[in-house]
């Protein structure tokens, strides 16, 4: 045994008498649902043969750039970008990564719709995708009202009416910059990321949906 081996904790054997432990149960459930080969696969079904399949990954890439640029903006505070040309550039990166995020996400949605990607117990995958879209729209709104410029004044004074009309505005006050900024940089990013992770794990668990089967009914002219 070399000296290097001692830096890694030994794997403990799984004993039958420990099977009732919460830890053992959780581990067993996780490992059986998402074994390493399913979690990080190196194989894909041969029917994955279209550029449309890239759009989920492109959406994730855009989301990661949104987060990175958001972190950079946070370093210097919410009014930095009005005063600094570097800040303005980082703000531009943040804005365009958001535009690309929605662009790729909607193309991804169209693709998944036309593939009927909810088939085969994948309804929750579809639903988490839609919820991510909704949370993202919320995150975008809170971002827009946190700009501390004319656009944020306008959007806040207009959006308040829709929210107030159904009682939401009493709790989610778009005119309260402090509240909106915190929703934008903490609460909604956590929600978007958490639901996205769940969405991706569901895709890994169930696999990419197989093609719609060609039958006599849908092969010819009639559906």
């Amino acid at each position: 045994m070399s000296i290097r081996d001692r830096s890694v904790a030994p794997t403990t054997p799984i004993l039958e008498e420990d099977a009732a432990m919460w830890t053992a149960k959780i581990r067993k459930s996780l490992v059986s649902t998402l074994p390493p080969e399913r979690l990080i696969p190196d194989r894909q079904p041969s029917y994955l043969s279209s550029w449309i399949y890239m759009f989920g990954a492109l959406t994730l890439a855009a989301l990661s750039i949104i987060v990175v640029t958001g972190v950079l903006l946070s370093l210097e505070g919410p009014t930095w970008w009005h005063l600094s040309s570097v800040g303005l550039f980082v703000n531009s990166l943040h804005l365009w990564s958001v535009e690309l995020f929605f662009f790729f996400m909607v193309v991804h949605l169209w693709g998944k719709f036309f593939m009927a990607a909810w088939r085969g117990n994948r309804a929750l995958t579809w639903m988490t995708g839609v919820i991510t879209l909704l949370a993202s729209v919320g995150a975008a709104l809170t971002g827009y009202v946190s700009q501390t410029n004319f656009d944020s004044q306008w959007i806040a004074t207009q959006a308040k009416d829709g929210l107030n009309s159904v009682g939401v505005g009493a709790f989610f006050n778009v005119l309260n910059f402090g509240q909106m900024l915190m929703w934008h940089i903490i609460l909604l990013p956590l929600a978007v990321i958490a639901i996205t992770v769940l969405h991706v794990l569901l895709v890994r668990k169930h696999g990419i949906v197989p093609p719609i089967e060609l039958t006599e009914a849908n092969q010819g002219g009639e559906a």
Binding site: I52, S85, V86, L88, F103, V107, G111
Partner: protein
Amino acid sequence: MTAIVTVLLGSLIDMSKPGHYIHWGFLQISLSNLIVVCLMVVTFVAAIAIPYKRKARNRS
């Protein structure tokens, strides 16, 4: 060098001028938004139409 950096940090195209808007009946959309939506449709069609060739397959 400073001039190049300043230009890059600003924008090459001045987008602060008022936009153009397209009216069609009761519909109204800005030219920029229309371009974005058209690009999305073109991208979607291209993504499913353009052939996707991969390397040699393993049959399992």
